[in-house]
Amino acid sequence: MIEAGHFMAFLALGASLAQMVFGLKGDRRWAGMAAIAGFGVMALSFLTLVHAFAVSDFSVLLVAQNSHTLKPMLYKVAGTWGNHEGSMALWALVTLGFGAAAAALMKTGRETFEARALGVQGLLAAGAMAYLLFASSPYLRLDPAPFQGAGLNPLLQDPALSFHPPMLYLGYVGYSFVFALAAAGMMEGRIDRVWAKEARRWSLAAFVPLTFGIALGSYWAYYELGWGGWWFWDPVENASLMPWLIGAALLHSVIVTEKRENFAAWTALLAVVAFLFSIMGAFLVRSGVLTSVHAFAVDPKRGTILLFGLMAYGILALGLFAWRGPGLKGAKPWLMVSREGALMANNVVLVVAALTVLLGTLFPLMAEATGRTMSVGEPYFRLTFVPILALLLVLLPVAQNWAWGKADVKQWTRWAIAGGVLVAVFAVLGVGVWKISLGAALGIALGVWLIGGALWELKRRAVTLKRVFSVSPRVWGMTLAHIGIGLFIIGAVVETTARYETTVALAEGASGKAAGWTLTLDDVGSIEGPNWYADKAVLTAVKGGTKTVLEPMKRYYPAARMPTTETAIFKTGTGDLYAALGEQRVVDGQTRWVFRVYFNPLIDLVYAGVLLIGLGGFLSLVKVKR
C-alpha cells in the first residue's frame, strides 16, 4: 500500500516538473493537465498515508512513531499531519492542489501568462515534492513492525487542532499561487487590471483559510493549555501572524492595481513577500530553531534545507523583481489625500507591523548568536505593535471613504467632532462608570469607532438605507471584515485589561470565592477514556441566582507519558468562567486540589471578530453574475 503511495509521489514529482517545463514554455493546456494529474496522484498517495494511520499499520515507520491503536479515529486520521513528514506531505499536496485549482479556474484570456503562472507553481510543487521525497519521506517501512505505536502528542488530540494544520496550510500554501502569479506577471511585464483581478481572488483564497487557521489555533490554546489567554506572542504564533499581516496589506494594495492600474510593482512585491513569509514561518517552526509543541521533528539538517529553499525562492523572485520591476507600467502619480494614499498608508502600517513582529521574534535568536540570552514577550508587542496598528485603525473609518485620485476632505471637521465625542463619552463611561483604565476605555472607543465607521461606509456606498442589501457582496465583505476588526478590538481590550485570574486550593466539600463566584468542590473522581485516564473535579459555581457545574479534568496519556489539562468553561453571557484543575497538595494534613480560575470578559468577541474578518474575506470572493 505505502509503496504504491511512495511510487505515486514520484509520479507527482514528475508531473510537477512537467507542469513547470510546459508552463514556462507557455503551453497552457499541457501545463494545466500536468497540474491536475500531479494533484490527482498526490491525493491518492496522501490517502495511502491516511489509510496507514487509520488502520494503525505499524510497519510504516511514521505510523509507529506517531500513532496508537487506542486513539479515537479522528485523531488517527489527523495524526497523518500531526508530525513533520506528514505535515510536509500535506504542504506538497496543497501546493499541487492550488496548481490544479488554478488550472481549472483561471480565465484571464491570456494563455502565456496563465501557462507561466502554472509553470512557476510547478516549480514550487516540485520543490515541495523533492523535499518530501528526499529529505523527509513519510513512506519508510519499519521492520520488524512493533505491536504498538508511540502515540500522538496528547496536546494535539483535540478536535480544533485536527483541522488547524490543514486550514493554516491552505493559507500558507495559497500564497504560493499568488507568488506564481506575481512571477508570471513580472515575466510578462504586465501587472495590470487583469492580473490584479486574478491575484486578488487567489489572495483572498489564501487569506480566508489562514484567518480561520490562526483562529482555530488560538482557540485551542485558549481552552487546552489552561492558561486562560488566547494569544501568547509565542514565536510560532508570530510565524503565522506575519504572513497574515502581509496578506492583509496585499488585499488592499491589489485593489489599487485593479481599479487604477497603479502601485503595480509594490503589489507584486507584496505578493512575493507573502509567500516568503509563509515559508519562513514553516522554517521557524519546523527547523527546531524555536522549541514549541509544533517543532515535532527537531532536525537541523531539514531546517538548513528549508532555509536554503527559502533563500532560493527569495533570490529568484526578488531578482525577477529587480529585473522587471522598474519597467512595469502601473506606476502613476498619486496624491496623499486620496484613496490611493489611504491604501498606501494602510500598507505602510501593516508592513511595519509585520516587520515589528519579525524583529521581536528573531531578536532573541540574533542576540543568542552574540552570547546574550534574552526574551521578547507580550510587553514588547503591547508597547510597539499595538500602538502602531492602532494608528491605522484610528484613521480607517475616516480614510476609507476618500475618493480615488483626489479626496474631498471638507468633512474632516465632522469626523473630528464625531471622534472627539466618542472619546469623551467612553473616557467618562470607562473611568467613571465601569471603573476601567483610560487606555482600556479608549480601546473600546476605537472598537466602536471602527464598527460605526464600517456601517457608515456601507450606508454611503448604498446611498440610501433601502439599498443596503443590493450592494455588491464585495462591499458587504469589506463591511463585515471592518466590523470584525472593531469587535475584535473591543473583545481583546476588555479581555486583556479586565481578565480576572486567581488560584484557589479546595478540599473536597469545601468552598472558595473567585471572580465573584462561590465555588464548591463536590467531588474529585477518576475516569478513563479510550487512551487516557483522568482526575475529574466536579465544581459547583454559584453567583446570585446562577448556578452551574464545572468539570475540569487533568488527563494523563500513558502512551506519551504526558499530562494535559482539560479546562471547563461556562459562558455567562458577558464572558467565560474558566477553571483548570492543577496539582494536588497537602496543606495542614488535608488534601486540597489547586484550581486556576479565570473570568475572561467578552472573550467571545475576540473570536466573533476574527470569524467576521474571515467571513468578510469569503464574501469578497463571491463573484456576481450580471
Binding site: 501568547f232 502613476k332 502619480p333 540570552t373 534574552m374 521578547v376 514588547y380 475618493a403
Partner: protein, 132 residues
C-alpha cells in the same frame, strides 16, 4: 508587624492573593512579564512548575515589602539574568534597535510614501483630468 510576618509566611506557602487588590493587580502584571525559568516560553503567571510558584511568591513578597515594579524586575534580573524579562531592556545598541526599530520603520515608510507623492505632485492636474 506580627500580622505582616504571618501573612508573609502564608504568601510564600502557596498562591494566596495579596490583601490589597491594587497591590495584587500590580503583582499579577509583573508575573505576566517574568519568564518561568524552567518552562518553555511561559510567564510565571501561567506556569504550574514549582519554581514558578516560588517566583510568584517572591513577587508578592517584594510588593508587600514596598518594592517598586522596577525593583522587582531588577531583583529577578540579577538573580536569573536578562532571560527572565519578557519586557526586554532598551539599553545598548541592540536594545535601541529593538525598541526604536518599529517606530523608525514607520517614520521611514511614511517618509518614502510622502516623497513619492511629493515628487509627482506636478502631475496632480493629470490625475484630476483623468478622474473627470
Amino acid at each position: 508587624m506580627k500580622a505582616l510576618m504571618l501573612s508573609l509566611v502564608i504568601a510564600m506557602m502557596a498562591d494566596v492573593p495579596l490583601q490589597d487588590p491594587a497591590e495584587e493587580a500590580r503583582a499579577q502584571a509583573l508575573m505576566r512579564e517574568l519568564r518561568c525559568v524552567a518552562c518553555e516560553n511561559e510567564p510565571v503567571s501561567q506556569s504550574s512548575a514549582p519554581i514558578a510558584e516560588d517566583m510568584r511568591a517572591r513577587v508578592r513578597e517584594m510588593i508587600m515589602e514596598g518594592s517598586s515594579d522596577q525593583d522587582v524586575r531588577d531583583w529577578f534580573e540579577s538573580r536569573y539574568g536578562e532571560f527572565v524579562l519578557f519586557r526586554p531592556k532598551g539599553r545598548g545598541f541592540g536594545g535601541t534597535i529593538l525598541w526604536a526599530g518599529p517606530f523608525l520603520l514607520l517614520v521611514a515608510g511614511a517618509a518614502i510614501g510622502f516623497l513619492t507623492t511629493r515628487r509627482k505632485r506636478t502631475d496632480a492636474a493629470a490625475i484630476e483630468s483623468e478622474d473627470a
